[in-house]
Amino acid sequence: MAVDHCSLEIEAGEICMIVGPSGCGKTTLLNAIAGFHDITSGRITMDGEVLCSDDKPKSTPGPDRIVVFQNGALFPWKSNLENVIFGPVMQGKLARKEAIEKGRGMMADAGLSGVEHNYPGEVSSGMRRRVEIVRALMNDPKALLLDEPYRALDSLTKSVMHEALLEIYYKNKVTIFFITHDLEEAIFLGHRVAIMTTRPCKPKKVLDVDIPHPRDYSVLTSKRFRELIEETNDAVHEEALKAFQAGEKEG
């Protein structure tokens, strides 16, 4: 069983970081919330509305909670702008023209003007991630589900992306469910950090990060940040060791 006895409550508008070693079952949890996988038992609710339960084991994927995928899922055959307007146009929420206007505006806010007519394959991987987040935000989702979105980026690009994500978050208060195996990333970004156990995946320890938002890169060198890392490092390491011993594959 990948996920069991997992009980977790996320406040509206908070950034909740899910930390666990590779293969611990974090992605399974995300897939259940997003509606890509059935659950065998239990219940997931959002704003009081039941997404899935014992009676309805699979929630329906929808624009109220949008996934940003590990390897990126911008459609390579559509230009960045076409990608961004995809949601509202498909749902019939906006006419194409209005969607283009809104999309251009949001892309400009995220520092993406100038690449509207490029294809995703023509821009840097950091830019692609931002386009994907903008594509999600175009639908005014209640929650963003991010599945290790910066895993494939080099550490310099990653640090830039963290600040960019926070900047976007401060502009559009949206609930963020963010999966990672990087403890520093988790503490830097999150209001709360849930450290998960390995298979079955359930919260082992939930840490309140009392560093005030808005944050920037100076947080990384602050005393409090180091203290929080020290406080949680053991718990994370223990799970990583367990996962390693269990011989779990990457995933």
Binding site: G87, M90, G111, N118, Y119, G121, S124, E167
Partner: protein
């Protein structure tokens, strides 16, 4: 302290310095020469201030020798404000950034320093005129500013060039660009040498050395003479109407077979890939029929279609149908699950997923299939024409053999080679046109 870098030696020196810089490191020699031509050389003594933060961002500098200290103002947010630069270092690029007109840093010469100066607008205009190469340089500028100068990505966005690359690069201009690259590379000349070796061997083996296996073969000169003769000995040459009649008949048959196979094959393949149930019903039968060689269908085709014409087209159709359908199915199955999930998340319904994800996602495989399909279509057409029919290139080859007209056999074969290559190239061009995104990605990764 400035001097125009006009002498040849100065231009060479400038090119060498540019080559060591990040943005121009892999630019083409032609572009480098043009960039070097607009460079102005300048010297600064140790301690001289080259510019200060807040000045107008007019020129871009490349260090030729010496050393400079480059210090960002705190507002910029660079993680490492001080950067020391030696030969190949590039500074003063603020004018290239989106919405930036002022210097972001103060630069002083730490030692006696030689630099090249470029007017930003002149440089941008030059890069714009070089479309693809220029766009690449701009991208490398952006990467350099972000990585080497530790500026946030938000800030390090360079201006868009309004050249054909970035605005509306059509597939046609890309094709022309590739063609010009190709002509500049050694490849076309190697190709000519390859042909010369092949033809030379043919000529020598048959007509000069008269090697045992080749003695009975028609020689190069007799084939060429026959082919271009207004009065061909065996009745078929570039000057006879009949020659073109055979080509037209064959091309028309392949066209009919190929179009039909594409329409049915793509539809069928999409269904196979998209619907599990449909695949379970049909695929086993499909897989059993597919390996049957086309020649084995000949008797059945003649029985089924009384007219030879339909039988021949049917055989050509059959082979290409299988190739297209199979590749289309594989194309649908190759689509990354995340794309479908992302479309679901974004609220697309099943029909929209099919239209916006499945079809474009399968296109690369479909076109691979069509390339194969047009080839096998020719292959089976010729086989069918050899068995039955009164016209067509396959018929020409077969009857020439029976009537001992050896040069005509070679004329038929070479003509098939040329016509087959042209049709296959047409399919490739159509594919490039429909998958511009892929062409552009490949164009970027190739260089």
């Amino acid at each position: 302290m400035e001097a125009a870098a006009t002498a040849n030696g100065a231009v060479d020196g400038a090119v060498a310095a540019l080559r060591e810089s990040t943005p121009f490191g892999d630019a083409s020699p032609g572009l480098l020469a043009r960039v070097a031509a607009i460079a102005r050389a300048a010297r600064y003594p140790a301690g001289a201030r080259i510019y200060s933060a807040g000045d107008d961002a007019d020129d871009i500098f490349v260090v030729v020798s010496g050393r400079v200290d480059h210090v960002f103002t705190p507002e910029v947010g660079a993680r490492e404000p001080l950067k020391r630069m030696t030969r190949g270092g590039v500074f003063g690029w603020a004018g290239l950034l989106l919405g930036q007109t002022r210097r972001l840093a103060t630069v002083t010469a730490a030692e006696p320093t030689e630099v090249l100066r470029f007017d930003t607008e002149a440089l941008v205009a030059l890069l714009e005129s070089e479309s693809l190469d220029g766009g690449r340089v701009m991208e490398r500028f952006a990467g350099m500013i972000q990585r080497e100068f530790t500026l946030p990505a938000m800030l390090s966005q360079v201006r868009r060039l309004s050249g054909p690359l970035t605005e509306e690069m059509s597939s046609l201009s890309l094709t022309m660009y590739r063609l010009s690259l190709w002509l500049k590379s050694p490849r076309p000349y190697l190709m000519v040498i390859g042909f010369a070796l092949f033809l030379g061997f043919w000529y020598l083996a048959v007509e000069v050395w008269k090697l045992p296996r080749f003695r009975e073969m028609p020689g190069l000169t007799s084939v060429v003479k026959e082919w271009v003769s207004p009065n061909p000995t065996y009745g078929l040459s570039l000057y006879t109407e009949e020659y073109y009649q055979h080509i037209v008949v064959s091309v028309w048959r392949v066209t009919k077979a190929f179009v039909l196979a594409t329409l049915l094959g793509v539809t069928f393949g999409l269904l196979l890939g998209w619907s599990r149930t449909f695949k379970d019903y049909v695929f086993p039968v499909f897989e059993m029929l597919r390996p049957i060689p086309i020649l084995a269908w000949v008797p059945l085709a003649i029985v089924m279609f009384i007219a030879t014409e339909s039988a021949v087209v049917y055989l050509a159709f059959l082979a290409s149908f299988f190739a297209t359908a199979l590749n289309t199915m594989l194309g649908v199955e190759s689509i990354d699950e995340s794309y479908i999930r992302a479309a679901d998340c974004l609220g697309a319904n099943r029909r929209q997923v099919f239209r916006h994800v499945i079809i474009p996602g399968a296109l690369p495989f479909i076109f691979t299939g069509l390339q194969i399909s047009v080839g096998v279509s020719w292959f089976s057409l010729v086989a069918a024409e050899m068995v039955s029919g009164q016209y067509g290139l396959g018929y020409v080859i077969n009857t020439s053999y029976m009537m001992v007209r050896y040069p005509t056999i070679i004329i038929g074969m070479v003509t098939l080679g040329i016509v087959g290559y042209v049709t296959s190239a047409m399919v490739r061009v159509a594919g490039d046109y429909m998958m511009e995104w892929r062409v552009r990605e490949l164009a970027l990764s190739e260089r």
